[in-house]
Amino acid sequence: MSAEQNLSASLRQVTVIEIGDQSGDYCAMMLAGLGAKVIKIEPLEGAPSRKLGPFATVDRDPESSLFFWRYGLNKKSLALDLDHQESGAILTRLAAHADIVLLSGQYLAIRRQLELWRGIAADRPRLILCTITPFGLDGPYRDFTATDLTHLALGGIMAMCGYDAGKDGHYDTPPIAPAMWHSYHIAGEYASIAIMAALHFRDLTGEGQSIDLSINEAVNTCTELSMPIYIHNGEVVRRQTARHAFVNPSPLRLPTSSDGVRMLAAVSPFPREIKSFVRLADECGIEHQLTSAEFAQTEKQNPAAAADYRAELVERIVSSRPAQQSFLRAQHHGLPWAPIRRPEENLEDPHFISRHTFASIDHPELARELSYPGTVASDGAEPHMRYTRRAPRLGGHTHQILLEAGFTPAEVEDLSARKIILDRS
């Protein structure tokens, strides 16, 4: 693919100002992955997401937060006393160079900033002002406080995830919120789409607009079958261990490989999968009745027994060899099997290496590079998203950004001396 077709610089003419908490970091990082210039404006003590661990070296050190590292890629940091009376004038001057302003946090926490930016936007009709708040800017829950956990609860994801009920149908274990930070992921993806739509609209009309994203609603869109089943059938799905929540329970099947890895290794009763499975079983030297007339009869008359039989064969194949071998052989025959890996087990996987899935980011303070998941798509040769710079130090670009925005060196020095900005350039 020619370089001009790659999308990683497609937002290079777009400048984003990001202010707020951990619910906005991912959205801004997505935009930065397509080349947008993202300026994270932080209070002097650092953005709230710097308080989230795990921590690289020093516990609770704002420069050590791996959350901030992960979601701060490619961004620049300007540290500003957002409570100072002069901050509004400074932000107004910065706004002259911005296309998008992203405010994130609980409604009550961002209310003042929102008022300020609404005023700025009134004079800058091309500005796109996007808020990411827990419940949106109106409604009876507007002022409710929320975390990732409570979002996944109210939004419906949590009720679908967890462990099987006992034989009596009673659950002994609570629903489980999948880890980590997925309400912010889903919200960030939707906010990015909404921002893209607003950019298209501005391309066509010259007009900016405001975007009011509700994290709660974003999570609500992401529950697949549960809502259609209820809306149309009046039935409620029940959570099950490591498989889809359904109205009626299905058997738990997670065979373990000879090297102790759980495998997702099901065979659906589709003719093509059955054929693939016969080839795999033959290759593995497993005796089976899959092609016998008798089994065809069972398949028709008692599908559950046929499924049990297939699962028993799967178990024999998986348990007698290492996970990677089952994975590659099953896939060779066209079966959608995979080992249940830890994320880090993919770091050395030749597939992801060949796709350049991981961005190597230099960390001078550690005297090494770290691999970050850096894209979701390729142009056939190179990733469509590109990350090259580690997350910024607090105030690491204050000086540079203010000069670029037309502040004189004397002004910057004065603001710094009066501790309205923090400059660690």
């Binding site: 109210l154 607009q209 997702l264 770290l370 979701v376």
Partner: protein, 434 residues
Amino acid sequence: MHSDKVRPLRGTRVIDLTWVQVGPQTTRLLATFGAEIIRVECPYPNGMDVVRQVPPFTPNHATPDGGRIQGAAPSTGIPGNYNRSALFNNTNAGKYGITLDLNHPKGRELLKRLVTTANVLSENFSPDQMRKWNLTYEEIRQINPQIIYLQTTGMGKAGVYGNFASYGPTAQALSGLTFMSGLPEQSLPAGWGFSYLDHSPGYFGAFLLMAALRRQRDEKIGCYIDMSQAETGLMLSGTSLLEFQISGRPTTRYGNRMPYAEWVPHGAFRCKGEDNWIAISIQSEIEWRLLCEELGSPEWSRAGKFATAASRRDNQDELETLLTSRTVELDRFDLMHRLQLRGIAAGVVQKAPDRLDLDPQLKARGFYVDLPSSEIGTWPVDGFPARLSRSPAKVGGLPGRAAPKLGEDNQKIYRDLLGLSDAEISALREEKII
């Protein structure tokens, strides 16, 4: 034209070969912002979108001028009728639908005629299917140099596993997302109760297509987007990879607890009634004290075992048992409101009926949208989770309805767009190409 009438994706045509869940998610979002989505489907069952053919189905009594007002009911579907899938109705809202047999050479020729008029081609078949049909990006580019071609596969088409078979959960298992969810080891992973990687890569698909469409409009350049569900899973694996590289510690599971901040208690607590739960996140000492007061036991916050976040973390099992002994007596919604009044993050673990019928916030914001469909009448579908002040999302898209019936728009597309005569359309029908 007044700018209020301008849809962001005005004049964008998408030839939509996607099926099941992940691909259709993407095109649904483009429909929401005004793109014309032409969903191209195989006319016979064994090549048709499986979602049209599997439950949940809309109740058998639902009629075109009725819908939810006629009531919900379990259904095993109506044999031979492919227009009654409940999931399909939601996932394909806002699109036009035509039938076309791509296994027939004449079908592929017609597809190429459609593609020459389009901005985007989107597909998520098995990785090798488009090559078998001679419809790869390189081939399509010959007839439409500016085309944006989105191919979504489990692993990603480029790379060692490029032709691997995958459903969403396959990619999820490989990426690490399945492993990460659940109680600490010894317990199995709980994984996900649905296919998350049939959702998120769909959102990313819309994001990347919209970036590519802006460039196509400005610079007349198309591109190939090789979207990987497994890669998306890695993108969503949080800080786990960094933590592993720095500390050498393998990723582990934490249940509902919070390993990355001094937030204790942090979990789901049983409430009154069968399988009713409330999620509570305590983020400070003040909140902890207020929680104890609200539960009628201010002395808990003074007990040495629970006086600090660190001591609460050390005694978390006991703490959770103690809290549950109180919450189990309480109504989940009532408790949520009481805790929220004190500024504590608390949320009921809501199931579908709670969300659709009770949730006052979703109601006030008008989240669920009633959309008509030509066969099953009017039913609610998911809205778009953000309000745009100048170019609002419209999930009914250009047709202003939920999903199309199989081949519902054949006439409109083949006659009005491609200019085929009625006789030619009839001939295609007789040959079973459409």
